[in-house]
Structure formats: C-alpha cells, structure tokens
C-alpha cells in the first residue's frame, strides 16, 4: 500500500507544478496577449519589463510538469502527449516566439514591432493551446492497451475550444491584475478597466465550462451532484461566487495588489474543481493515478529531491521576485546612476 500513497503524493506534486506554471506563466502570457491593447511603445516596454526578470523561472514549472509527468506517470505521459499532439506542438511554437521576443525585441529598433507581434501572437497561441489541451484531456481520449488509439484531430471539439477561451480569458485577467500591481498612471488605469472586462469574461467561461463538464461523462455528473458528494462539491461554486464579488470590489475600489492575489485565489478554486472532476483518473475515464504510476522505487528516489529542493526553489524564486519588487516606470533612470 505504500506505493499507493506515494502515487497519490506524486499526483499532488505534479498538480502543484502545473498549478505553479498556470498562475506564474499565466500572467506572463496574459501580458503578452494584452500587448495589442497597449499600442504605445513606452507602455509595452514597461509591461515587458515587469516580467522580464522572472519569466524564465515561471516557464520552468512547465518543464517540471512535463518532465515530472514522464518520470512519475510515464503511462499517462505516453498516452496523453500523442492525444493532444497538435495543441502541444502549437503551444511549443507559441512559446518559442513568445520566449525569444523577450530578448530579440531589445536587439533591434526597426523590427521591434515584429517581435511585439511575435510576443502577443505567441502568448495567445500558447494560452489557447493549453486551454484546448485541458479540454481535450477532460473530455477523455481513446485508449487501447498502453497506447493512444485516436486520430490527431480528436482533440478538436466545441468543449475544447470553450476551455481554450476560458484559459485565454483567465490568463488575461492574471496579466491585467499583475499590471495593476506593477505599474502606474494611465497604463494602470487601463489595466483596471481591462481587469473588469476580463473578470467578466473569465466568469462566463468558468460557468460555461462548469455547466458543460457534467454532460461530458456520466461519471462527472455523479461526481458533482450525487449525494453525498454534493456536500463537498457545492462549496466550490459558492467560493467562486464569493471570491468574484470580493475581486469586483477590489477592482472598483482600485486596490493595488489585492486584485492580483484574489485572481490567484480564483484560479486555485477552479483548479481544485478540475481536480474533483479528474480524480482518481490521470487519463480521464481510462487510466487511474495508480495504473499510470511509475514503480515505487522511481517515485521514492525522486521524492527526496522534491522534499529538499522544492522549498529551496521556492525560497530563491521568492528572493528573485523580491529583488525586482515594486512598480516599474518608463523613466526611472538607467542601470548606471
């Protein structure tokens, strides 16, 4: 039974890594997607500079999520990656354009706008692809034996497109509230306005996805609405509603960091809701956490590393954020004073 416990623990570790990725690269990608709404070069410079020192660390959680899945749940990795082949490739290519734009943008004057397009387009494609991948996994994939047994367009359904839009809206909200926290003046005012609209869009998307999910599989329906599960699931939509109200008020009252923090909380709650739908499967309706888990000695070998290193990683990541804390201005002096 020991391996059962450690498999569960690893499911939480992977879920944690993916969540860290979603919220941390979420605001980076959100800022990228908001680029077209801020046409002035000076604003864009500031927007990019709010995340330039930390984006690479944020994206590393994606590598931990993917690499960790391969290490801890190789069967799930082997089934899911071919199943969401196209969205994954699209995401990777989006991330290539978005990632290089951080440096390339400053290495050229004449083509800077071209890298602005790469930054915005890459962010949008990556966010959309991640949302589609989420929907494609939730709606279930065809499995035979230890293989994915479907085609390379199976992921494309109205539901996966809906989750794609949901993630785009959610990342946009994270990006806008991050800008509220990190900027000043007109840029910040614009970010407030956008936060409001993006919160509405995110909420609509959450409601739509929540309504659609129980109809995907009978199991999801039972999970959410059967007695006594509903005792545990009912607080989730209630919490979403409550957080939304507080978040709306914090935006209306022009709080500084509160909208961003509350957006993180909103993400955490909806993420927990996804967990309720997924459990105990890692490939929904086909492969459970325990079926996919690597042998206990692989999971045990890595748990030491996680137990020791993740707190250290969180500590120096926090330090890096601390070093670059505070508002970013366009005209606050050079490096060489």
């Amino acid at each position: 039974m020991a391996s059962f416990d450690i498999a569960m623990l690893w499911a939480f570790i992977i879920a944690f890594a993916v969540f860290m990725y979603v919220v941390m690269d979420g605001f980076d990608l959100g800022i990228g997607m908001l680029f077209p709404l801020f046409p002035h070069k000076q604003d864009r410079d500031v927007m990019m500079n709010t995340v330039a020192p930390v984006w690479d660390g944020n994206e590393t959680w994606l590598v931990l999520g993917g690499g960790g899945l391969m290490a801890a749940f190789p069967l799930a990795y082997a089934i899911l990656m071919p199943a969401i082949y196209t969205p994954i490739i699209a995401m990777l290519i989006g991330l290539v354009f978005r990632g290089v734009a951080f440096e390339f943008r400053w290495r050229t004057q004449s083509e800077r706008n071209r890298w602005d397009i790469a930054f915005a387009g890459g962010s949008l494609v990556a966010a959309m692809a991640q949302g589609i991948a989420l929907g494609a996994i939730l709606q279930g994939v065809a499995v035979e034996g230890r293989h994915y047994a479907g085609g390379w367009w199976d992921w494309l359904t109205p539901f996966s497109l809906l989750t794609g839009f949901a993630v785009v809206a959610g990342y946009g909200l994270l990006g806008a509230t991050w800008l509220v926290m990190k900027t000043t003046g007109d840029l910040r005012d614009q970010a407030y306005r956008l936060s409001l609209w993006l919160l509405v869009a995110t909420l609509v998307a959450i409601v739509a996805v929540s309504l659609a999910t129980p109809f995907l599989q009978a199991d999801y329906w039972r999970r959410w609405f059967a007695w006594p599960n509903i005792l545990f699931t009912a607080p989730i939509p209630v919490a979403v509603a409550a957080i939304t109200l507080v978040l709306l008020k914090s935006i209306a009252d022009k709080h500084d960091y509160r909208p961003f923090v509350l957006s993180l909380v909103l993400f955490a709650i909806t993420y927990a809701g996804l967990g309720v739908s997924m459990y105990p499967y890692i490939v929904p309706q086909s492969v459970t956490i325990w079926q996919a888990a690597a042998p206990a000695n692989s999971l045990g070998f890595m748990i030491y590393g996680v137990a020791i290193l993740v707190p250290v990683i969180l500590a120096y990541t926090a330090w890096a954020y601390w070093v670059f804390r505070g508002k970013v201005h366009a005209d606050s002096g050079g490096y060489h004073s």
């Binding site: 660390g57 590598v63 690499g67 082997a78 085609g151 290193l309 670059f324 804390r325």
Partner: protein, 464 residues
C-alpha cells in the same frame, strides 16, 4: 514535402532537427556562463575595468543565446512524449527521474538567478550579483551532469530490470546514474562546450584585433581564449581517445562504424583515414589507410585483432557512412584546434600574440568550429547508437508514438520553418552584437530601457 516517408523516419528527422538546433545553444551558453563567472571574478579581484566591460559585452550575447536555449529546450522536453511515447512509457521510470532531477537541481537554479544576473547588478550589489552569476554557471554544469547521465544510460544501460508491463525499472540508482559511458561522455562534452565557447570568444577577439591591435578588450579576450585552446584542446583529444576506448568496450559496433571496419582483422586493423563507405557492398571504397594503426590506437598493439561489422547481423548496423564521416569531421576539427593552441603559444612566446595577422585569421575562421565539432560528435554517438534507442535493449522502430505520418510531417515542417526564422534572426542579432567592439563603459542587457522600480534602496548603500 515529406511524401513517402513513414512516421518513424519523420519522427527521427524531427528529433534530430530540433535536437541539433537545441544543442548548439546550451553548449555555447554553458561555456559562456563559466566564462562570465571568470570575468566577473577577475573584475572583483583586480578591479580592472576591462573585465566588467567584457562581462557586460558577453552578457548581452549570453542573454540572447540563453533565451534560445530555453525555448528550444522546452520543445525537447515534450518531444519524448509527442513523438516517442512508447519509449517514454518504457524508459520513463529510469530516465524520467534523471530528467526530473535536472529540472529540480539545474533549470530552476539557472532560471531563478538569471534575472538577477542579467538585470540586477545595481540592485543587489557586487557580491550577491557574483553569487547569482556563479549559480547560473553551476546550474549549467548540473544540467549537463543529469542530461548526459540520461543520454549515457541510453547508450550503455546499466542497473535496471524489466517489470511485468515491459518497462525498464531501476534496480540500482547508483549504477543507472554512473553507467559505464557516463564519466567519459561528461568530461568529453564539458570540455567540448568550453572549447566551443573559447573559440567563439577567440574568433570575436581576432575579428576586432584584425581592425585594431591596440583594443584592450579584444586583447584580453583573445589571450584568454588562446590559453584555453593551448591547454584544453590537447586534454580534449586525450579525453576523446579515452571515450573511444570506453565505446569500444561497451558499444563495439559504433566503433566499427566510426572506423569503417566492415571486415574483421585478426592480425592488426588498418586506420582508414578517408574513403567512401558503401553499406550495401559492405566495404570502404577508395580508402586511404595506415596499416595496423587502428589496432595501435584502440588496442595499443600493432597486431591486436579487431572484429568488424561482418561479425554483426546487418539489422543491427547503424548508418555507417553517417557515423564514419561525422567522426572524421569532429576529429579533424579537434586537430585544427590543437594547431591553433600550439601556434598561439608560439606567437605568445615570440611576443606576437596581438600582431600576427595569420593567427588572427586562423582564429577567426575557427570561430564557429566548436559548434561543428559538437554537432558532428553528437551525430557520431547518436547515429552510432542506432538502430536502438536503449542500446541493445529497445529498438528505435519499437519506440515511436502511434501517430499518422501527416501529423509528424506537419509538425516537422512547422518546426523547420519556425526554427530557421527565429533562430536565424537570433544568430543575426548575436553576430551584430559581436561586430561591435567591446568598449569603455560597456552596458549590460537592456540598458536602454531600464527596469528599475521606484523606492528601491540603491544597491550601493546595501553593499559597498
């Protein structure tokens, strides 16, 4: 564009394409991170301005190269699942943890301190900034440790058992990590990365010395690079030789392909310098050979017997021509590197290190040589592992994802187009940065658009 190719061939093309692009950037930024740490240490130690100028000069280039390494690396971490899902399922329990440790011990360390290294000098003070630079450099080393361990395990698998699901599982993690070829491969690759960077630095130094022999920054970087060539190139040849002997012990077929030995030689095998290997006819055409020299190199005895590919079933042969030629390219460049190391030592002794146009042109021409050698060496070892993914245990043909050829072809085309555009522009920007001479008061990345937050205590007050 790729009609008639099956999904596995396309997946192999895709992996080799994305990998070939990727390996260039980490090999460079790996060496460059260490070089930057050395420059900053020298600056802190001596206080000479030239070192901080060079540091900032190369930091700008590092920022661009590192970014490209990151994004092309993320692609690699998903290639295993997208195109090689059966391989991932079967080997995930063994090499997955090695890669997970790479992320935990190396990638986060690099990424966590990169921001401070690039933009934080004035915020955190000199000592803490140097610490950040060191952490990035150490992170690249740790990264090389784990990924080469995983790669070496595919070449010389050890310490494993099979479970009932047909997966490789670890029986002894120590033997998995320190598998037989790993120490040799690690040393060989680390030295290769250092040499690659040294030759880029030397090439840039030479480029500016050819225009102005008095330029201090160019002199310093050129001299440092030439010391590396003089000292490290011979060590690398020795390390490569030892790596080859290790390969002979554990992967003799690869060495047969490298040497072009189709036939067995019971009393001394010739060293084939050049020739055209013909896989179908199982012979090397038009070969130029030194009798018995191969036995001398590999067995340290003129008459030592060496088996040839005639002792190996054909279905276990790699592509002989590819391994044969890539090996010769790598070795050839190695000796050209040794040559520049000796020539520069001679010029240094004669006091003409900064004035010899011959040496500078030679160094300039050798600027990209390290990349070619790294790629050629990589092809030698990886193509030489075929037709297996886990040597002798799991065939490549049994490793691929159950995908339709059009899916793999489409993604391959997408990667080719995107990589050539994106990384082509990146290389252009790097060359443009290199074209500028290092100068007095050199600024770091993003000096034109500062990112300083309001209300921050100036670093100088925190640390002297």
């Amino acid at each position: 564009m790729f009609d008639g190719l099956d999904a596995i061939t396309l997946a192999r093309l895709q992996f080799s394409f994305t990998m070939s692009f990727h390996i260039v950037f980490p090999a460079f930024s790996f060496g460059l991170a260490s070089y930057l740490a050395v420059l900053e240490a020298l600056w802190l130690w001596t206080g000479r301005e030239v070192f901080i100028n060079l540091f900032n000069y190369w930091l700008k280039i590092f920022a661009v190269a590192f970014g490209m390494g990151v994004v092309s690396g993320i692609v690699m971490s998903y290639q295993f699942g997208t195109n090689w899902s059966v391989f991932s399922d079967k080997t995930g329990p063994v090499i997955g943890p090695l890669m997970a440790y790479e992320v935990l011990t190396a990638f986060f360390l690099e990424a966590g301190f990169l921001g401070v290294m690039l933009f934080g000098l004035e915020r955190v003070g000199h000592k803490l900034h140097f610490f950040a630079t060191l952490m990035v450099a150490i992170g690249t080393l740790i990264s090389a440790f784990w990924i080469l361990s995983a790669n070496s395990w595919m070449q010389t698998p050890a310490g494993f058992a099979m479970n009932s699901s047909g997966q490789f599982v670890a029986a002894d993690w120590w033997k998995v990590i320190f598998n037989p070829s790993f120490p040799y491969r690690l040393v060989h690759m680390v030295l290769a990365a250092y040499l690659t960077t040294a030759f880029v630095v030397g090439g840039v130094g030479a480029w500016h010395l050819l225009r102005n022999t008095r330029l201090e920054g160019a002199r310093v970087m050129f001299s440092m690079a030439m010391w590396m060539a003089t000292i490290v190139a011979p060590i690398q040849i020795l390390a490569g030789d030892q790596h080859g002997l290790n390969t002979l012990e554990h992967q003799p077929v690869k060495v047969m392909a490298m040497e072009g030995h189709f036939q067995s030689h019971p009393d001394g095998a010739p060293l084939i310098l050049f020739g055209i290997p013909d896989q179908d006819e199982a012979k090397v055409k038009y070969s130029i050979e030194i009798p018995k020299a191969s036995s001398l190199i590999l067995k340290h005895s003129l008459d030592a017997p060496l088996n040839g590919l005639d002792t190996v079933p054909r279905e276990n042969w790699p592509k002989i021509g590819l391994v044969f030629w890539s090996f010769r390219i790598m070795v050839g460049i190695g000796f050209l590197m040794l040559g520049i190391g000796l020539l520069s030592l001679f010029m240094r002794w004669r006091g003409k290190l900064y004035d010899s146009k011959l040496l500078h042109r030679y160094a300039l021409a050798m600027g990209p040589a390290g990349f070619v050698a790294v790629l050629a060496g990589w092809v030698t070892t990886e193509a030489g592992r075929q037709p297996f993914t886990v040597y002798g245990m799991l065939r490549t043909i049994d490793s691929a994802s159950p995908l339709d050829a059009p899916a793999v072809a489409s993604s391959l085309i997408a990667f080719i187009v995107v990589y050539f555009i994106v990384f082509g522009m990146g290389v252009f920007y790097i060359l443009r940065l290199m074209h500028q001479p290092p100068h007095h008061g050199e600024e770091g990345p993003r000096a034109d658009i500062p990112a300083r937050a309001a209300g921050i205590t100036p670093a100088t007050q925190v640390q002297g």
